[in-house]
Point group: C2
Chain length 364, copies 2
């Protein structure tokens, strides 16, 4: 691989494929449809690795992302985001060519959408299982039934079930806490399922967050999962309890441009426009990334006190252990594990594989 | 202007040009060279407005940005970032065509750079006036003199003076506090100037941070200023005390996709990949943006309790006053002032002008 002289996001194909394979096998083992979320990697190439694991249906978070993956051969796409009624023309175009599934959470959304539809599409109703972001409360049976009824009266929208993103699992700090969130989701969907009259027809329950999908072993009435971050994982997921540091498939490599011995600080080209300003706090220290050891073209997470402690637009400040400080000179490149791989990948917009050619992989 | 159905960054040309004019006039009044930083807007078009204010020399934060503005006709560019010795080929190319100025903070950087240079370029030495990011301490006279001597012995590098970015002014919370930071910078540069033997030749002092440049009225020995954020300002700058809310020249407009009356919360398409995760805390509330009132194609900052309180990758959650909540329906667009315009602009990568055509302005 050529010397790295500019902030670069490395992608370890081996770790990434292992993450995909493990989740695909888990889905199969629990008899779950696997509809992975593509928002973390946003890459047709990583999509191919997912296809190789036998996946045929995917999840995305925007209409633009749906277009991109449709153009790259995906035929069954769920946009896991409250339907944007201002962009029905684009939804019509998509629905002509693929099996398109949306989220509809309000009767007025169904009404507004129906007025402009020319193609048939599917919708889940989003259930708020505790994240307090979007979706109907799982025990608001009256509103849920009313919404199913409104949707089933439309000509172009098929109701296919329920969707939930348990974002509150991100505040967990152990496998035990994640299992408790999953237990609560399973309980809520069990209750909901009992309340929905068979007259409404068969339906699917899809639930997707990386912590629960990584850790849980009881999926109860859940039929499908759509985690996204698991393809790469990151430091935040290690803190939550979803993975170990060796599961992290991406790392930033940045050139050292200056160093300050009195403060044991290295200055890198690598700032908020590369890492994002997502931070995490552990043992009282708030930081934006942790230094890893580079081994050949790969890396090994380090168990030392060397962190990216300050970010401006293009500068990063790494506060180091003595050993790390001494082992880097101006002009060297240093490897840093990201806090939130979704946001770092989105900013970097391409990957460099850790193969010997340093192959470039594009994003949308 | 067409209805906005996707996250859009509006740019008010009138406010922006007034911000540029005001800073240009202030520089002229204080007999300062005005070398504005282009990192906030990253746009050739905004660059033209700056050119119209009589500016001939600019500042950037990366080699890529220097290339972009050189391609757009700028002939005098300072890269205000510790010199990246791994990219000397690109520096040579740039220095062939424009007056290029770098920051060199270490003798080894000068040595490494000199080995690969084929074109003459200028350098400032960066002085750390209190931000504890990069640069030599202003009272480390021995190291400063040694570095000047090293640089002056090279064939291709001209030493032209000192540069400082007083990033610590960002922790100020009033004009008074900003003036105190400026007072300290002026004092440090007065002392430094006394210590530098006239044998080293004439030199320039350039200092550039938006809070000090906006508020200060005593520039002492400073010869040039290079603020950047002032072209747009943002909520963070209002909190620091650099500007008033009516000086903010950019605003995000995002479609409302869902609403929750019990929580007085609107859900928008507009998340961390649009706003960035930069937050601010005021009166105990941490938020990612404040709702503004849209008037025709412009906006007026609001004095109410309506803020963007939660961000995921594509979702934003706005916690509203009753009045704001009731005045927005699903499908409407809502206007939000950003916390940190540099990071929001970098993510959005284009502007829509508030003129009646909604003209698109590109970034690099």
């Amino acid at each position: 691989m050529q010397k790295i002289t500019t902030p670069t996001l490395l992608l370890d194909e081996g770790i990434c494929k292992a993450n995909i394979r493990r989740m695909a096998e888990k889905a199969q083992h629990h008899n779950l449809r696997f509809k992975p979320h593509m928002k973390t990697h946003q890459s047709a190439q990583v999509g191919e690795w997912i296809k190789d694991a036998g996946v045929t249906a995917i999840t995305v978070s925007s209409i633009d992302m749906a277009h991109y993956f449709a153009q790259n051969g995906w035929k069954d796409i769920t946009i896991a985001f409250p339907c944007n009624v201002g962009r029905t023309q684009e939804l019509n175009k998509l629905a002509q060519n693929i099996t398109l599934t949306l989220l509809i959470n309000k009767p007025e959304t169904a009404h507004q959408l129906e007025t402009h539809l020319t193609s048939t599409l599917n919708t889940y109703i989003e259930i708020d299982t505790g994240s307090a972001r979007s979706g109907l409360a799982s025990d608001d049976i009256r509103a849920i039934k009313e919404l199913i009824t409104v949707i089933q009266k439309t000509k172009f929208i098929n109701w296919v079930g329920f969707y939930s993103h348990a974002g509150h699992s991100y505040s967990c700090r152990s496998e035990q806490e994640i299992s408790e969130v999953q237990h609560s989701i399973v309980k809520q969907f069990n209750n909901l399922k009992k309340c929905i009259n068979p007259d409404f027809g068969t339906f699917e329950i899809c639930s997707g967050d990386t912590p629960c999908c990584s850790v849980a072993n009881n999926f109860g009435p859940i039929d499908a999962i759509s985690p996204g971050n698991f393809v790469f994982y990151d430091l935040m997921q290690t803190q939550i309890g979803s993975c170990t540091p060796t599961d992290i498939a991406v790392a930033m490599v940045c050139p050292v441009v200056d160093k300050y011995p009195k403060r044991n600080e290295l200055i890198i080209h690598g700032g908020a426009v590369h890492f994002s300003k997502e931070s995490m706090t552990k043992n009282g220290l708030t930081h934006y990334g942790a230094v890893a050891q580079k081994i050949d073209n790969h890396w090994k997470p380090l168990d030392t006190a060397s962190h990216l402690v300050k970010l401006s637009q293009e500068h990063g400040v790494i506060c180091c252990s003595d050993v790390i400080f001494k082992s880097y000179d101006i002009g060297d490149a240093i490897t840093i594990l990201p806090i939130h791989s979704c946001l770092t990948a989105n900013l970097m917009s391409q990957y460099q594989l850790t193969d010997k050619n340093g192959t470039q992989v594009n994003m949308m």
